[in-house]
């Protein structure tokens, strides 16, 4: 994993900590695991992830559209950031 991607992952984990349900430690969630079905976040919290990506990376969802599966896991979110910025 590149240094930049590692940094993005750490920042993402910190952000997810701020919106997660209290009874599911993020350390127990694998990078490829579904954030909603694992019980880490409520599906409504996907909107908060969208706002985080807009504010942090300047991603415009009106251009990229919104597909929930592209934000389903930490890995897919990092992939999405990479694709959106290229």
């Amino acid at each position: 994993m590149s240094e930049e991607r590692q940094q993005q992952l750490q920042e993402l984990i910190e952000f997810l900590r701020s919106i997660q349900k209290p009874n599911k430690p993020i350390e127990q969630i694998g990078a490829d695991e579904n954030l909603v079905t694992s019980g880490l976040i409520d599906s409504l919290a996907l909107v908060e992830i969208v706002v985080y990506l807009e504010n942090t990376y300047g991603i415009d969802f009106s251009t990229h559209g919104f597909e929930p599966e592209r934000l389903s896991s930490m890995t897919s979110i990092l992939d999405f950031i990479e694709q959106a910025r290229t």
């Binding site: 900590r17 209290p22 009874n23 430690p25 599906s43 409504l44 996907l46 909107v47 919104f66 929930p68």
Partner: protein
């Protein structure tokens, strides 16, 4: 008397299932026969801890045709909460579906309630028409699921008064193809979004409630089913405006938004997204059969908090803030003067179930004290400015702080507690809690969290906790929840995930 309600078609857009009039009548007749086999009698109560599917609506009609009373229940309640409601309402039967939690089934069985699966009907059909206008038709529990339940009782007469009023004010044309995304266990979703159009012969499209994946494809859903009307709450629009593509077929004729009044900005955004100017706040309270005021013609300038005129109701803004004395005409506020919103409507509930004390504190001489604050503008339209009701509005679902306080107070190491609303970007409001513990170690916090998950449905669990030395009180010893919020919100809240994770490692 026979209920002469003219039903429309029913469709589940997500599953693709659909029932027309003859099928609906067949399904109702099978359930009447089944209820008769279970000796359901006039005056009995039936719990419905499921909803938002075709079977829910035919169960409702079958219950009514036998003169019994339906009690729709939030499927997310814990067995403890269900048990509390069972002890209060003493239902003869509960109808469940395949999604009903096994622990809830166990709780119902242990309480001696007969449990029936909604799809278990048999082929026998029967007719019945035992309902009378003043029979209890619906009980909707709005709070007290952890202690002393507060159930709104509507008779067939009060429900009919609501639907007739809406038909007179709004007609039915715009409701020809109505979409409901809201839960069927509370007034807005059930009485007005679903039953008003459906029992006026219009086609009802029902989805599972508050599903983000459905809201994210709302535009496509509206186009695909040529939806002409939908109701909503602000949290639906927080998602849809951001993430869903707008409809393109131009079928929407009217959109309501309830639960909390729209700001002018969001109102205009919804108009742009939906493609219709007929978007308005539908002011509704379960006690008045939900939608009780709004804009019959909504093609006007959007204004913060603007509701409109009464729909089958007289709306007054008075200086009087309680029901301790008869209302006085002199207490009516002038146009533009802020006061307390009172309603007089033939759709008013019969009262709170077995709680005359609560009914007397809310109703006097047929006038209902809403707990909302507002004013009448120069055109005689109601404008809302706030509320004094003790509730948290989480995405349109009302959560009562007292219910959560009542659970925490029973925890062995809790010395004092105050639950309050916190502003939230997605839900509008969410739940915060300040607690005084006589043991402040992590193990006690974990035990309290466990205690709360057993007694409270997940959506009621506080998202932020503050462990404090004391709960500030007024000079009269009362808790001011806003003041507790103000005292806590700038302070770091408990790192609950870390504390709970610590327990799992141990």
């Amino acid at each position: 008397m026979l209920l002469d309600l003219k039903v429309g078609n029913l469709t589940e857009p997500v599953s693709g299932r659909s029932w027309d009039g003859p099928e609906i009548h067949r399904q109702v007749a099978r359930r009447i026969a089944r209820f008769k086999r279970h000796q359901l009698a006039a005056g009995d109560r039936v719990f419905l801890p499921f909803g938002n599917r075709l079977e829910f609506f035919v169960e409702l009609l079958a219950i009514w045709r036998l003169g019994a009373c339906a009690v729709p229940i939030d499927a997310r309640l814990t067995p403890f909460e269900i048990d509390t409601l069972v002890k209060a309402a003493l239902p003869r039967l509960a109808v469940v579906d395949d999604a009903t939690d096994a622990a809830v089934l166990e709780a119902l069985g242990a309480a001696g309630v007969g449990v029936i699966d909604t799809v278990d009907t048999g082929d026998e059909e029967a007719l019945a028409g035992r309902s009378r206008l003043d029979d209890d038709a619906l009980i909707l529990f709005t709070s007290g699921s952890t202690g002393a339940p507060k159930g709104v009782v509507h008779t067939h007469r009060s429900l009919r008064a609501r639907w007739v009023s809406l038909r007179e004010q709004l007609g039915v044309t715009a409701f020809e193809r109505t979409l409901c995304l809201l839960p069927t266990h509370f007034g807005h979703g059930l009485i007005c979004n679903c039953l008003f159009p459906w029992l006026s012969g219009q086609h009802l499209f029902i989805t599972p409630p508050f599903k983000p994946e459905i809201i994210m494809r709302l535009g496509a859903l509206l186009d695909e089913h040529r939806i002409s009307f939908m109701s909503s709450v602000p949290s639906i629009w927080r998602l849809a405006l951001k993430l869903a593509r707008p409809p393109s077929a131009g079928t929407l004729q009217r959109v309501h938004c309830g639960s909390a009044p729209l700001s002018a900005h969001v109102w205009d955004e919804i108009r742009r997204w939906t493609g219709t100017r007929q978007v308005c706040n539908a002011y509704g309270i379960t006690e008045t059969g939900s939608w009780v005021a709004g804009l019959s013609d909504a093609d006007c300038t959007a204004e913060d908090g603007l509701v409109g005129e009464g729909w089958g109701a007289v709306v007054k803004v008075l200086r009087a803030a309680d029901t301790s004395a008869p209302l006085d005409a002199d207490s009516e506020c002038q146009a533009g003067e802020q006061g307390f919103v009172w309603l007089n409507t033939p759709a008013l509930m019969k009262g709170y179930f077995q709680r005359d004390d609560l009914t007397e504190s809310a109703v006097i001489d047929g006038w209902f004290l809403t707990g909302d604050i507002g004013f009448m503008d120069a055109q005689g339209r109601l404008v809302l400015r706030g509320r004094e009701r003790d509730e948290i509005n989480k995405g349109g679902m009302k959560i009562y702080p007292a219910d959560i306080d009542a659970v925490v107070e029973r925890f062995a190491h809790a010395a004092d507690v105050c639950t309050f609303a916190i502003d939230d970007a997605i839900y509008g409001q969410t739940v915060g809690i300040a607690i005084v513990l006589n043991q402040r170690d992590d193990e006690t916090v974990r035990a309290l969290h466990k205690w709360m998950t057993v007694h409270l449905a997940e959506h009621k669990l506080p998202s932020r906790w503050w462990i404090v030395d004391e709960i500030p009180r007024t000079s009269r010893g009362k808790i001011n929840r806003d003041a507790v919020n103000a005292a806590c919100i700038g302070l770091p809240s408990l790192e609950l995930p870390k504390i709970l994770a610590g327990g799992e490692k141990a």
